[in-house]
């Protein structure tokens, strides 16, 4: 079966990003496919490369990267939500004249259409947070 995953909550405010990771990993290990993982609302900060949790805390954004590399997952961050919360790709930052950018490798920034498309083209939408 093919799943679309939607995550809505800030990783510092809610375990949703981590629960979604566990679900996605279990789905892939059971032989299912993931159409796309879409980060919306507060969850977009998962994709920031400039978060520095203390050394004894896991970086959940990095865990997603590892899973994405292993299974060639598409991790998509909503552009409108990301701009509101300070997550920028190099291209978007350059286009709008910002000097800094912080989008992690393995993530792409795109529009909400990607969420709708994923939910229409997969068998189940599973939302977290």
């Amino acid at each position: 079966m093919q799943f679309a995953i939607l995550i809505n909550s800030d990783p510092n405010q809610s375990p949703a990003v981590r629960s979604a990771l566990k679900f996605t990993r279990a789905a892939l290990e059971a032989g299912h496919t993931i159409q796309r993982v879409f980060f919306y609302q507060g969850a977009v900060t998962t994709a920031s490369d400039m978060l520095l949790p203390p050394q004894n805390e896991e970086k959940v954004g990095e865990l997603w990267s590892e899973l994405a590399e292993k299974y060639k997952l598409e991790l998509v961050v909503c552009i409108a939500a990301a701009q509101r919360r300070g997550v920028w790709s190099e291209a978007e930052a350059g286009r709008l004249g910002y000097k800094a950018h912080n989008l992690r490798a393995d993530y792409t920034i795109s529009g909400l259409g990607q969420l709708i498309e994923a939910s229409v083209e997969s068998d189940r939408l599973v939302s977290f947070g």
């Binding site: 919306y40 909400l112 259409g113 709708i116 939910s119 939408l125």
Partner: protein
């Protein structure tokens, strides 16, 4: 692209953060995909539709105003749960009047809001292909 039944369920108050606005953004962008779309307002979500809101007093966005444009976006089914209104002492007269041109009735100007009982709406949830909750 296949056509699916998509329902957006709104359950939060309109002025406590970005959720109501970010939910509406999904609906507006989703409208371009020509799916079978419905909105549902339940629990505190019914406050989003109250008329005479003045969000400029607190600097928040006027989602109730924007809902009035949903007809232009071909979003015609807007369900409001009767019990959620009752529990808050509200009635349909307290809500914004949302309208669309009904393609099945010679594009006659038609009210978009449909009051529905909790039980019927719960059954309707089960008849959707995709549920978005905000």
């Amino acid at each position: 692209m296949a056509t699916k039944k998509i329902m957006y369920i709104n359950r939060v108050t309109p002025h406590s953060g970005l959720t109501a606005k970010e939910s509406l953004d999904v609906v507006l962008i989703g409208a371009a995909f020509e799916q079978d779309v419905a909105l549902a307002f339940i629990d505190d979500g019914v406050y989003q539709l109250l008329k005479d809101q003045q969000p400029e007093k607190t600097g928040s966005r006027h989602v109730a105003k924007s809902f009035a444009a949903l007809g232009d976006y071909d979003v015609r089914k807007i369900y409001v749960e009767q019990e959620s209104l009752d529990e808050r002492g509200l009635s349909e007269a307290d809500l914004v009047d949302l309208r669309h041109e009904n393609p099945e009735d010679d594009y006659r100007d038609t009210a978009s809001i449909r009051l529905i009982s909790r039980e019927k709406l719960a059954r309707l949830f089960g008849r959707q292909d995709v549920l978005f909750n905000f």
